[in-house]
């Protein structure tokens, strides 16, 4: 039985949503949700609110097919909540990127790191999340496709465009 449209391997692992799993999921994924939200809303406070919104929605779920699906769900929820916020009236002002990064960073960054974050933040939303998930979260194209509910082809396309935009040159052994 496939547990989702992307699962072809015929294996389902079920986990219930209880306090322990929520606690673990929060510890493991809160920063990820925050980064995804921050990427999109570019507002630290809003991103923090989105983290709470996403995990509050999580506790309403009965179960997930497995940990990977929980992560996929969190990513999708984070992106959707952030896009909803962007489409709603909650965010009206644009915060300069420098100011945003300064307030959102938990430690000092080098110039090259700052430059990269700045570039990523300027990417269109679609590319930004895909690039982040691939390069930072070590997710495969199939996992990204499932998380974002897009085709793998689209993932590849977005990565290509993202790399092109970022001018990142990756050696094969680095990937």
């Amino acid at each position: 039985m496939r547990c989702c449209l992307n699962c072809r391997k015929g294996v389902v692992i079920l986990i219930g949503v209880n306090k322990e799993t929520v606690s673990v999921l929060f510890d493991e994924n809160a920063d990820m949700v925050y980064r995804i939200a921050l990427n999109i809303v570019k507002n630290r406070e809003e991103a923090q609110d989105i983290v709470m919104d996403v995990f509050t929605a999580l506790i309403r779920q009965e179960s997930f097919a497995d940990g990977g699906h929980a992560k996929a769900w969190l990513i999708r929820a984070a992106q959707n909540k952030a896009l909803n916020v962007m489409n709603s009236s909650r965010i009206r002002r644009n915060i300069p990127l420098d100011e945003l990064l300064e307030s959102a960073l938990s430690a000092p960054v080098t110039d090259s790191e700052h430059e990269l974050l700045d570039l990523v933040m300027r990417l269109p939303d679609k590319l930004k999340t895909t690039v982040y998930m691939y390069y930072y979260e070590d997710m495969t194209a199939a996992q990204i496709a499932e998380a974002l509910q897009i085709s793998e082809n689209t993932v590849y396309k977005r990565l290509e465009r993202g790399r092109s935009a970022l001018k990142i040159s990756l050696e094969e052994d680095e990937v």
Binding site: I13, S23, R76, N153, L170
Partner: protein
Amino acid sequence: MNRDTFRSAYDKLALTDECKSEMKAKLLANMDQQRGGDFYDVGDCHRAREIKITRRKRGPLKTALFAGSAAAAAAGLAVGAGFWLNRNPAELQHNLTPPLEARTAETQTVEANAEKEYFTKRYASGTMTFQEFTVSTRAHSQPEEAVPKDEQADYISREILERYLLGMDEEFDKWINGLREDNEKAGCEAHDIEQVIAGRPLGDELWLSDVLCSGSGTAFTYLSKDGTKQVNISVSDDPDEFLPITLPDGGYLVPAGEYQSSFVVCDYTEHGYYQFVDPETFDLAAGSEEIGGDEYFAAVFAFDCADRGMKYYRLDGKNITREQFIGCVGKAAAVNLHDHYGYYSDDGMNKLPPEREQWNSDCPVIPEAAVEETMWGEIRVNVIANKYPWVNSSYHFNVEYTDSNIIPEEYRYSIKDITEYSGIDLEKALPEDFEKREVSYFARYDGMSFNNSEYGWGANKEMLPGDDREQFDISRDYIVNDYEALSGEEECSYYTTDKIEYFSGKTRTGALYSVECRSDGESGLIKVDVFDDWEMFSRETRALFGRLPAEKTVGFAGVEDKSLYVGGNVLNGNEYYIGGFSTGDGKYVVLQAENTGLDGFAEVLAKLFTNNFEAVPQ
């Protein structure tokens, strides 16, 4: 820059420990409030159990089922495996309405129907109306070769479990019991199990009892443990071959008149698209009658399963609930009866709880299509319930071109190519102030495949029969191979153009041209797709029509001889419209617009639809 640089930078975008602690405490407190404390906090409930349902090679029976004797069942019941169904309502009506003499051969009393109120309900993809059925004793054939039990369980669970398991069968029961035992050992509630078994209309009340097959059809029988409840499902190449539930005094139910239920061909789960321009529908007759204190149900319909030919379905039920029977019909017909992709109740009158919201419509209920006045004439706007990206629509093409491809100018695609392909001058149709334009092109070729998969996608690695070595070698330069750095499983490549000599002898089996344009500095977006293959069209985003089938707009912009279908809604605060029509030569044009206003959308649509750029508002 590399991945490490990326990681080191992003590591510093993090919540502070204090912030995380505070959030987590609030979250867990919320959980206690929402879930009543300890109910979910029962130890090892999260412990994973692996359920292995790997696909096996077909046994002799299954081979036979697929090869011939039960090809009808395989083709019909496994429509979800990716077969596209073509319906021909006129033909169905002709073939399936029982002859008059059959309807008059009544041998027992059916309750007087003169004042009977028949059930009728609007579903996501059509309307189910229970109609009058009468009793026939007309002779018919039926599948008679019993399929051994072990083969049944295997066949049902391996091949049709996911979508077509209607009740229980032995293997499914073993599986569920194993899961239950594990959960009990872990001290957990059974909510996981309920989720697994949800969606089967017969639940665990009725069990698969027998499977019979013949040279042309198959019949499945489900029975309750006490034998009082029963469902039979028959699928055959022959309209006169079926296994009905025989009535107490003999005979079986047949519809007394023309078929009164109608559904649109729409299988989101597998095909992932809905052909909203000239959508195909099929008719169905369903009903129930009380005879001798028992409630009998029956439904008949047929599909033209493309190259598999016409398949005739008959479902019979006894003493089950109406919703169970309708659920069985929905499963067998592979139509989306019950909900609007999880966002609305089955009749579209209630939006489901907010946690299911994703790219949601702002409508609390799904309204019917409404006529809107534009400067270019009236448009019947069907409601778009949702617009969402799709997962399962990949692997349908061999050539993928986008403007970001780095290839010589002569091998690139432009709006001129789309114009040539469609016969519609897109350059003139698109608004001048939408300056940011991006062209993409996708094509599918006969016999071409990256890994010889059934989908036939990607760029072939080896020469194909008849290939010229030199041309093949040159073609390697026009493959997107950025992805070879990915792991082996994910390796993936496509041709970036088919304007090279290598493709001159190849047969293109599908094409999709797109141009997406944006208004500078505004949120306006216009996208035009021209294609001949709906599967390819829906590769990224789609609109989910709330009421199906979509209703046609007639006479827009003075055009009387072409069908036009329009949808629209406000989705997450953005105004969204979609309109599509056939060019009449096997191609379709679909216009999507965001935040252009209805008149802005209508103006572009009018130009595309009329192919007349001097046209003035009506």
